[in-house]
Chain length 194, copies 2
DNA sequence: GCCAATAAGTGACCGCGGTCAATTTTGGAG
DNA sequence: CTCCAAAATTGACCGCGGTCACTTATTGGC
């Protein structure tokens, strides 16, 4: 039984990821060029694509890792007591997801995997996000006529909506928080007329 | 005062759009190549970009026009009496928006204009969509504790969510309609526990 | 009808993501 | 140690969106 993966492979992969992180730190995600990454890692272009299916796969890794670290923070935060509390807890993540237009686009594009066998880091974080939020919503002072899972999916949908508005010239006069609050109030604590 | 736009310009533009529509009819939006469009129109590549800022601008026009025609149908439909009725009325539009993964991506990307002066066709249709739905929701048997405008934005957010799930391997076992129904029931007709 | 001034059109060229046949490196079998 | 098949790497090449200095057509003033 062969050692299935060589040491060299791991080293090259690490060099590519390090180089990519350096480029991102320097110039942001949108400015990342594959040629720059391979130059920084000291390998040929083809090597990059032997390690990553395409540029999106690298972005999935880089962005997914950061989302995951935000989720770590979120998971260790206390259960929010109301909508404002919930929003405040989510804000670091939402701010990261909208730090660049390009980042938001990549996240939307990769948040659903086309096939089960190619679920990426970002798609995983979305599952995790839903679970964390659902657990909160089951405990909190929110509506109980629908399942916490459905509520969490709604929080997700409205977060996407609010983030999209941030990039829209017609609606970006309000902050993300201000956009999100009325949605979540109406979603989580409805007061329908009798 | 000069005639600001020449006849030739309109003719070339029309030829480009015709050629683009022919390509789309033949092979779909995703397969459209600028080189194929200019070949079909009998002009040089540079001419294309004198008429459209980029390929997305052409897509905005083509896709926006189709969305608009679906909105015409929707607008002339009777006010929906319940959630299922609403979904059925919206379905032709939602089906078109998810006819190709590429089309959905373009719509998401162009649904918010980065600057007011460059609001495109798709962004316009989203405004129109919100107005049509808001008018319906004001009349129908739906919750009244929040404004019809906010309700309409929610319908939009959940529609996007349901469409995204259609492209997601983890959640595409249900149809778009089945995904959308529980969201809209919970959003438009909440029954919170007393 | 002629002549600038301006608008429209051209195509060679570039940037960058992605491919692949050829080459080098690796690690275990004999 | 030698050999070799699989794994890793290479870099020339391609596809395609987008640019721009230059050419060609149009139009209003004389």
């Amino acid at each position: 039984m062969n050692k299935p993966v060589q040491q060299r492979t791991l080293k090259t992969r690490a060099r590519l990821i390090d180089a990519a992180n350096a480029v991102v730190a320097e110039a942001g995600f949108d400015a990342l060029r594959v040629e720059q990454v391979v130059a920084g890692a000291g390998v040929a272009k083809g090597t990059f694509f032997a390690h990553f299916k395409d540029k999106d796969a690298l972005m999935d890794l880089l962005i997914g890792a950061r989302i995951d670290s935000y989720l770590d923070q979120i998971e260790s935060a206390p259960t929010p007591r109301d909508v404002d509390d919930l929003i405040e807890t989510l804000m670091p993540l939402l701010n990261f997801m909208t730090c660049e237009r390009y980042v938001f686009d990549v996240i939307l594009r990769l948040s659903g995997a086309a096939a089960v066998e190619q679920i990426g880091a970002i798609a995983m974080t979305f599952e995790r996000h839903a679970q964390v939020v659902a657990k909160w919503l089951a405990d909190g002072p929110f509506r109980t006529d629908v399942s916490p899972e459905l509520l969490a999916e709604g929080v997700h949908a409205f977060s996407i909506q609010a983030m999209a508005l941030k990039f829209c010239a017609l609606h970006n006069s309000q902050t993300l928080t201000e956009n999100l609050r009325p949605y979540l109030r109406a979603w989580l604590m409805p007061q329908p007329a009798s």
